[in-house]
Amino acid sequence: MPTLTRQSLSLCCFFLLLFNTITAAADVEVARQLFAENRSAILQIRLIDLTSGSKSAIGSGFAIDHNGLIATNYHVIELAASEPDQYRIEYLTETNQAGVLTLVDVDVINDLALVKAEQMVSQPIALASIEPEVGVPVFALGNPLDLGLTVVPGTYNGINTTSYYPRVHFTGSLNSGMSGGPTLNQQGQVIGINVATAGNQISFLVPTARLQQLVVDYQQRGSAVTEVADYIGSQLQADQQQKMTQLLAADWQSIALGQAQVLQELPPFVKCWGGSNNTNSKAQFLSAERSCRSEDNIYLNAGFETGILEYQFFWLEADKLNSWQFYAVYENLFGDFAPGNRATEDDVSEFHCDHDFISSASQRQSKTVLCTRAYKDYPGLYDTVFLQGSVDNSDKAFISHFTLAGVSRENSLRFARRFMEVSQWR
């Protein structure tokens, strides 16, 4: 019997191997064909610094109509959108023809941009009208690391349901420089725009539907965007309004953490992780933590991202510590909170903070801190940090914290009110 098993196993492996060779050969043929047919349609998008006359950033793009309209990522052309006097957008074809592009429309939420050449640069690539089936081979095209046009075969894994903003999960290696390039199905139609990678073979594409919507919006308006910052500001405003309305209308379930009740995971907005020091034999106190965070970052510039929602809870018990020692640890932890999104002096004000003790019939006395910083280019949007820690128990403590990035004052406060109701140690 054991021999047989081994035999059948080796037979199995052989078949798998054979099968693999056959499909790989088919993939290679499709890849070769797609590459040959579309190589001239894929452009390198370059940002030229006018002072030095050299390229500062590169990405990819592709023609989508016969009038010179080209799709790429917002983050590829961001420098020219924020500093139009310092950067020029240029394209470079596969045959080394270069030309100037003008920015005509952006969708910062989905990291898309439309740029336009004076005339048709290359044959457009058709956008797929139906979503492929999960598991089909798809092919990403672009200019990784300025190495020249490259085709990367991979697998379509559907639209990621665990994030708020729709992104295609593409199993294949995207590299920097491929951003803005198309990913094609076997028929040579665009099923997504290369946008991000999360390491080994896990990459993300913006679904084609987002691009189609942007093209429709642009065609309806009929002219290029002029005040880009205001335009982006209104996109961010509308997006946070829609997202927060949906978020606040959602059913907020709570879950126990120590003796406290904390806010449960809120799909598709956040994912939660947790941990404790229970297994640490040297620990003098007990600490259990639950951290929830959205994976939706909106890229605004190299040092500034927004759209993040995170909340965090800590349950602490003094265990071997007396109340003075316990409060020293607790104080240290309480002083260590920061927002999860990056921002620089050019983008936001400093944080302004208020703090006070809060207590009511239904709530334990707690120290509450609220901090906010205003966006400089997008008035009416703020990053808000909320922090609350119980202060009336000498050997137990509960901390709750949230950060909301790029949200209006009203929505921040509505969220805070709801958050305080749901996450409590009564």
Binding site: C353, D354, S359, Q365, A374, L413, M420
Partner: protein, 316 residues
């Protein structure tokens, strides 16, 4: 006519005095002189003072380095009246007549009368123990890992060494200026200041925690620390120097000013620097120290409009 020769030290203070009952006084390194000085730049037979009616004539006895006049009193050429100063080699000398007027007697300050009482083991020891215990308690209440003496002792001794170094410094200053070190007295003063500092700090943090005056609280804390340093300096100076009360206060005020300046210079680099992190009051104290009552969450959030307005204003 008798003459007093004073050997002057740092800041013109008299270091040594010779009194010679003769009209003719020889000064030099040789043992045959009336006044024998050890400065190697002085010749064995350096000079001779010859008494006259108005003072003394100075006769250079062919010395190698000669006689420099630092300050000549009296109107007659070649005659040095009482109070004149000369320099031979590297030694400054003042020539004084026995009837030369001396400065008025200084009134002893109350603290100086008490200073000998401060300089006693019976004062120092309790203070030392008190500071030691305070320090130990402070370490204990902030330690969240298993208690290990091998970690605690270096911390304890480190703090004590800093205090001891301060006391030694002032004792040295006292030894140089007043020829009295008052080591235990200085040590006791520093210990007392440390205790005072810990107590006010703790009180103010607790007060600030309860009454929510973040900026104000911080300023008060700084001002109290400076006030303690000012009083401590004045007391140190009283023990170590002969300064009058007025100049002592001025000196301590200058020292405090210097500390403030150093603090400002160090902080200056951070002025206007952008921080992406919120700076908020993170003080938390055990319920035993909490006296404040809270307001409702709604009231807190309703007042947040002002917070957003402040953020808006800062980017205008």
């Amino acid at each position: 006519m008798a003459v007093v020769i004073e050997v002057l030290g740092w800041a013109g203070k008299s270091r040594k005095r010779f009194r010679v009952e003769s009209d003719e006084v020889t000064v030099g390194r040789g043992y045959t002189n009336d006044i024998v000085l050890s400065d190697p730049h002085i010749s064995p037979q350096h000079l001779r003072l010859n008494a006259t009616d108005q003072g003394w004539a100075i006769e250079d006895l062919n010395s190698l380095n000669g006689v420099q006049v630092v300050c000549k009193r009296g109107d007659i050429d070649g005659v040095f009246a009482s109070g004149s100063e000369i320099k031979i080699g590297r030694t400054r000398l003042r020539i004084v007549a026995t009837d030369h007027a001396v400065e008025q007697t200084k009134l002893l300050h109350r603290l100086e009368l008490e200073s000998s009482r401060l300089n006693r083991l019976a004062i120092w020891l309790p203070l030392f123990i008190a500071v030691f215990i305070t320090e130990l308690v402070a370490i204990y209440v902030t330690t969240a890992v298993a208690w290990e003496w091998k970690n605690v002792i270096p911390m304890l001794l480190g703090a004590q060494l800093v205090i001891l170094a301060g006391a030694l410094f002032w004792a040295l200053v006292g030894r140089l200026i007043r020829h009295e070190s008052h080591l235990l007295g200085q040590y006791s003063l520093l210990l007392l200041a440390t205790l005072l500092f810990s107590a006010t700090d703790w009180l103010l943090v607790t007060l600030n925690y309860n009454v929510n005056l973040l900026l104000f609280g911080e300023h008060i804390q700084r001002l109290t620390s400076l006030a303690i340093v000012f009083v401590l300096f004045s007391a140190n100076l009283a023990l170590a120097t002969n300064l009058s009360v007025r100049s002592r206060w001025i000196t301590s005020a200058c020292c405090v000013g210097l500390l403030v300046t150093i603090g400002l210079v160090v902080e200056m680099r951070r002025w206007g620097e952008f921080s992406p992190f919120p700076e908020y009051s993170s003080t938390l104290q055990p319920p035993a120290l909490l006296f404040a009552s809270g307001r409702s969450g709604d009231a807190f959030l309703n007042s947040a409009d002002d917070l957003f307005a402040r953020a808006d204003k800062s980017i205008e």
